[in-house]
Every structure is written in structure tokens, then in C-alpha cells.
Symmetry: C3
Subunit: 267 residues, 3 copies
């Protein structure tokens, strides 16, 4: 039996009510009927490349090893940003060259081979000016999933756009962090990454200020908090999160994506 | 290896929170475990057949050639409207005979072979009075996808319900058009089709009136508009659209699906 | 050809905007690339185990015979509730032991073989304290779908948590029932089950009181009601429902999930 084609994972800001996601899937299935598709999310805030990249970062470790990411958060469609496809580390990528793939580059470093989507076989016969997800990224993803050499897609891209690191700002008296994502449960996911900060936060006393909330410890589980009590914990995305047990930290704090969260050192 | 069964594409007004979509998929997978399902949308406004047909029209060209459309926007369930399945042009269809398949008929003309879903093999052993998606359209779609002859489903349907054309009304001084769809980005998709109107609009001066907006040109890309500027363009569905670059035309205009948009000839 | 693995049906309260559903799917596909996934719903009200169990009850008969249900409505994650997998009647189950699987137990009775998810092969190498869907239930589901013996997962669970029956309360003058679910169409799905109550309701006169609505008959189809008229009927989930034809009973009554509906005997 031939090997299964790689999982194609879709991440867009298209929402689910319209026909846009289906058009991307339809074009992939037209070119590769045996394609295996999985949705990451189509709920990225419209045109918010950084938010899309953050979702990709969160889910990356849980996806199959050679997943091909077909991503469309693309405010620059029709302008000068490049449309690219190829390999970034162990993963495939088809999407705009606008920073959306940053989490892949963060893990892959210089180990990538990306190409502009220019050759006829990698794009629809007619390419619209407003929907490259359907006309460029889907056909290119199907070609890659079918085993095509991405170098056939077009000119090599050696200087892809990569977003700046997420790290919180280090101040003399603490950290200035940000809410990256308010999730479905109202949990506030920050840009304080566990690998970078767990040891440092364990070593000293601090107060986390999130809106009106003040938290002085990092819990292990929700069950350690009483009902409707606030807590901070290392979340499943590997970031520090602020939540209210069986409540909504977003409601309790009034904070939204992009807002500041402070960590003040005590003493 | 046997050939892959056709893609079964689902279009409903069920929303995604309940168990209805899963019941349709479950019944298809019960009858045909190797079925390949793809969602078009489950966000059609409740009971709005015309809106469902418009979504189908938008996505049609992007779907695989022999896609079998299993569609359930069905305000007449349990009444006298017929439940049908069969072939319309190159496509399969299983759903109500209420105009939902109009875009298929528009392309296929008289080339269709539709049958009422009446035979035991094409329907659930027990058919409810309120959920034909689960009890008729899903089993029939599975049978068709498995290669069954649709003529075995029941009596031939030679006079299917087809909705009137979408065309805008031609007035002496311009066009009276309609908003067919407000998409996720707040773009207003009209019933002015590119094949019919592009040449005519290119030949004369006009003012597009959409709520308080006045537009005198058709842009090629969003990038040609400044941020938060309104523009008209031929959208990815092949229709004239009105948008606000990085904003929402729906919010700027207050217009909703069904509202009027005017094109006034100048001179 | 090897047999197809069972359908894995997912039911969660994760919503669709975040990366949580994708992480569960990604982990399943990592372990079992040929897995066949289908979504029941990810719109269960957050942490509402009873609402999740009710959705499962509604969809159960429509799912393929040996479906493996991977369910995550899990307010007790990280606390003492057990994580279990195995067989309940003809179905597979992977999820929390918190009552979510009650509809499976109601049909299977004592015919189940459940085990705690404890062995390395059934869980992720690193198990977080907040996301057992990704770290326990998905890997266990993939193992079961691959044909593993669930007894290898861990200690047997002989006393699973089962929710109390849904039945309405019988009063001397009628029934005190509940709204279990307000669906996408605004229909009120009650806990009055057709097998238990159809004959009894057919035998006597009654008034159904749902907010300000008064209904004295049970209709067969929506088409029997005039437009914007209220009706009661045996719904597709096998429960008594109250709806407004082409309207919303939720809006007309102001009732929400958990609210009371009364059936008063006349005479």
C-alpha cells in the first residue's frame, strides 16, 4: 500500500459560516482526493497574523510529525507579500509569507526550503486577487502532500518574514507581559513561556497583576483553587495563564487579547 | 484498489452546537464507513433556502468534479415538499426539492436524473417527521456514494423546484441590486454577477450606493484601497462585492442580507 | 485489506475558536494516521457534564455501531476523578469518569469493561494537569481504535460514575419537566422521553405550560402549525419538544436550559 499522505492542517481567519473554508478544502480534495484534512481553527481574529501564529505555536507539539500546515490569515492578499510553500524543519507550509509560520521557524531555525508559488502546477488556472487560500495555498498544499518537490513551485525564498519573539519585557521591578489569547473558557494565556520563566519565577516572590486580580503563587491544577477563585498556572500551551476556576478570568478582569499583565518582584 | 467514493459535501442550517450535523454524518458513516465527508457550511440562516443556494453557488467551482451534495435547509420538512436524490449534471444531490439545488440546475440545465427517496434501502427504517437530514438525505447520500443507481430510490422527479435567477433589476437609470450575503469579514456580496456585468460596468460611469457609501470605481485588490477605505471589487464568488479595507462594510453601511444596493448610471 | 478502524467521535466543551480540538485530533492522528474522526459537538456549555451527556444521548442511535466516543467535558481535570477508557456495550469510550458516558451505560447496563488510563502506551509521555483531552483521552482513544486491549490501560473500573435518570417528576396534578437543551432553532428539548410518555399522554387531556405558552395537543409535524405558531411534538431526539414554527420558542418563552416546563392533567 502506498504511504498515507501527510495530514494537512488548516488555520484561517475565515470563520465557519461562509463558504471559504470549504473552497480551500474543495480545491485540495479536487487535486488530491485522498488528502487527510484537519482543522486547527478558523476562528483567528480577522487579519490578525500574530494571533494566528500564536495558535500555531500552541498546537504545534500535538500535531503529527510531518504535518503540512495550510494557513490563511492574509491581510496582504493581492499586494506585494509573497505566497510561499515548502518545508520548514519537519513540517510542510503553504500560505502567505507574512510571519504566520513564525512558530515553525522558531523550532526549525535555518532548516527550511521555501519557494514562491509561481508555477502553473502549484496554483489554480485562474488566480483571484482576493482569495489566495483557494487559488494558491490549497493547490500548492495538495501538490506538496502528493509528494511534489517544492523547488518546482517557483523562486526560492531565503528571507521569510518572521515575527519578533513573544517574550515579556523585563523591567527592573518585574515583567511587563501580554495577554496573547483569551480562550473559550475565558482563560488569559500570556506570553510568559514556561521553559524561559518557570525556574526564575520559582526562585523569588512575586505578585501577578491581571486587571484587578492579584496572584502570588502558581498553582498546579484548577482543583487547587476553590470555585470562582482566580489562579495562575502553567497552561497546556506551555505559557503562564490566569484563570478563574469555573468562572471566566476575561470577565473578572475585563482584559482582552493585547492587554498587559504585570509580574512585580516582591522586595 | 477500488476507486475512492465521491466527496460528500454537507450544507445545512443546523449550526454547530447541537447534535444534528453529527447525526447526519453518523448515518452516512454507518452505511458507508469509507465515506469522505467535507463541510460546506452549517451556518446557513435558519430555514433560508435562498441563502443556502447562494452559498452552494459560491463554492461550486472549487469542489471536486463529482461531489455529492447532501443539503438540508428544509423548512418544509414533514409537509408536501419532495425528498429527492440523484444526479444533477456531474454532481450528486440528496436533499429537499425546494430550490436549494438551484445552482446545480443552472449549470446542468436539463441534464439531471432525480428521484424521490421512497425505497427502503434509501431511507432509515424509521423516518421521523422533523429530521429528514438524518432519516432520508443521509441514507440516500450514502447509497449514492456507494454507487447505487438513484433510479432505485423511487419515482422520477421531472419538475424540480428551481429558484428564480438572482439578477439585479435593470432600471432606466441603473440597477437595483441586493445584498445576498454578509460574510465573516463584513463584506457585502451582491447579486451582480461578473460574467453578466463586468463588461457593461466597464463601459460607462456609475455610482454604487450602499447605505451611506458612494463608490465610483471597481478596484482589483484590497491593497488598492487605503486602510478603512471602502471599495467595490469583483469578489472570489464571481459577484460584485462592497468592502471596507481592514474594516467591515456591514458595520459602515448598516446593510444586511436582503437589503438593496443601487448602481446609478452617470449621465 | 485490513478492516477500517472504528469511527472516533469527539464531544467536548472546547468551542471551535481555540487550538484545543485540534490538539486532541492531532494526538490521535499522530498515533493512528488512518484514524477516522467525526465531530459530535464542541459546543457543550463549559464544564456542563449533564448537557454533554444529553447531547450524547440524542445522537447515539445515529452513530455507527462500534463508534469510539472520545469525550472531554471535564471540570474535574487534575483532581481525583478517574480518566478511563474501554468498552461500554458495543461502543468504545475514552474520557473522564464523571457521568458523561451515562447514555452508553443506560443502554449497555452491566456490559462494560473500563480501565483507568495509567499505562505509558495509553497516555502522552508528559501529562499536563489541565488538558487530559490531549494527554490521556486522545492517546487512549488512538490505542483502542488501533485494536489494543483496553485491559492493558490500567486498573479496572467497576463502579463508574453514572448520572441520575432524566425522568420528569410525577406530581399528583401532572409532570414537572425540564428544558434539557435549547437548540440552534430555539426549540426547547425536554426530558419527557417518548418511549415512557407517549402512550400515557395519548390517554388523557393535558395542558403543557412553557413560559407563557399553553399547548393542549401534540403535533406530528411543523407543517401542522401555522407560521409563528407554537407547537409540541415528539422530536428527533425522542423527547417532547416545544417549538415555534419558523420562530424561536426560546425567544417566545424566555426559557433556557434547566428551566421548568409543566404538564398539567385536565380534570
Amino acid at each position: 500500500m502506498p504511504p498515507l499522505p501527510p495530514t494537512i492542517a488548516l488555520l484561517t481567519d475565515f470563520g465557519l459560516a461562509d463558504w471559504y473554508v470549504a473552497a480551500v478544502k474543495g480545491r485540495i480534495l479536487t487535486a488530491l482526493p485522498e488528502a487527510r484534512l484537519v482543522d486547527i481553527s478558523h476562528g483567528v481574529p480577522a487579519c490578525n497574523v500574530e494571533a494566528g501564529a500564536f495558535l500555531l505555536r500552541c498546537v504545534l507539539d500535538a500535531m503529527p510529525p510531518a504535518t503540512l500546515f495550510c494557513c490563511v490569515v492574509d491581510p496582504g492578499v493581492g499586494a506585494t507579500r509573497r505566497a510561499v510553500c515548502g518545508r520548514i524543519g519537519p513540517w510542510g507550509y503553504s500560505g502567505p509569507d507574512n510571519g504566520l509560520a513564525t512558530p515553525l521557524f522558531e523550532k526549525a531555525g535555518d532548516d527550511f526550503a521555501l519557494y514562491e508559488i509561481a508555477s502553473p502546477g502549484f496554483r489554480a488556472p485562474q488566480v483571484s486577487d482576493t482569495f489566495h487560500g483557494r487559488d494558491l495555498f490549497a493547490p500548492a498544499a495538495a501538490r506538496l502532500a502528493a509528494g511534489a518537490d517544492p523547488a518546482a513551485a517557483g523562486p526560492a525564498v531565503t528571507d521569510p518574514v518572521i515575527l519578533p519573539p513573544l517574550d515579556p519585557e523585563e523591567l527592573s521591578h518585574g515583567l511587563l507581559a501580554r495577554v496573547m489569547l483569551v480562550d473559550h473558557f475565558g482563560n488569559l494565556v500570556t506570553n510568559i513561556a514556561r521553559p524561559d520563566w518557570e525556574a526564575r519565577l520559582a526562585r523569588r516572590r512575586f505578585v501577578i497583576r491581571a486587571g484587578p486580580l492579584r496572584l502570588t503563587a502558581i498553582n498546579r491544577t484548577f482543583a487547587q483553587a476553590r470555585e470562582v477563585e482566580a489562579l495562575a498556572y502553567w497552561g497546556s500551551a506551555g505559557m503562564l495563564e490566569v484563570a478563574v476556576n469555573r468562572g471566566s478570568a476575561a470577565e473578572s478582569t475585563g482584559l482582552r487579547a493585547g492587554d498587559s499583565i504585570h509580574v512585580d518582584w516582591v522586595e
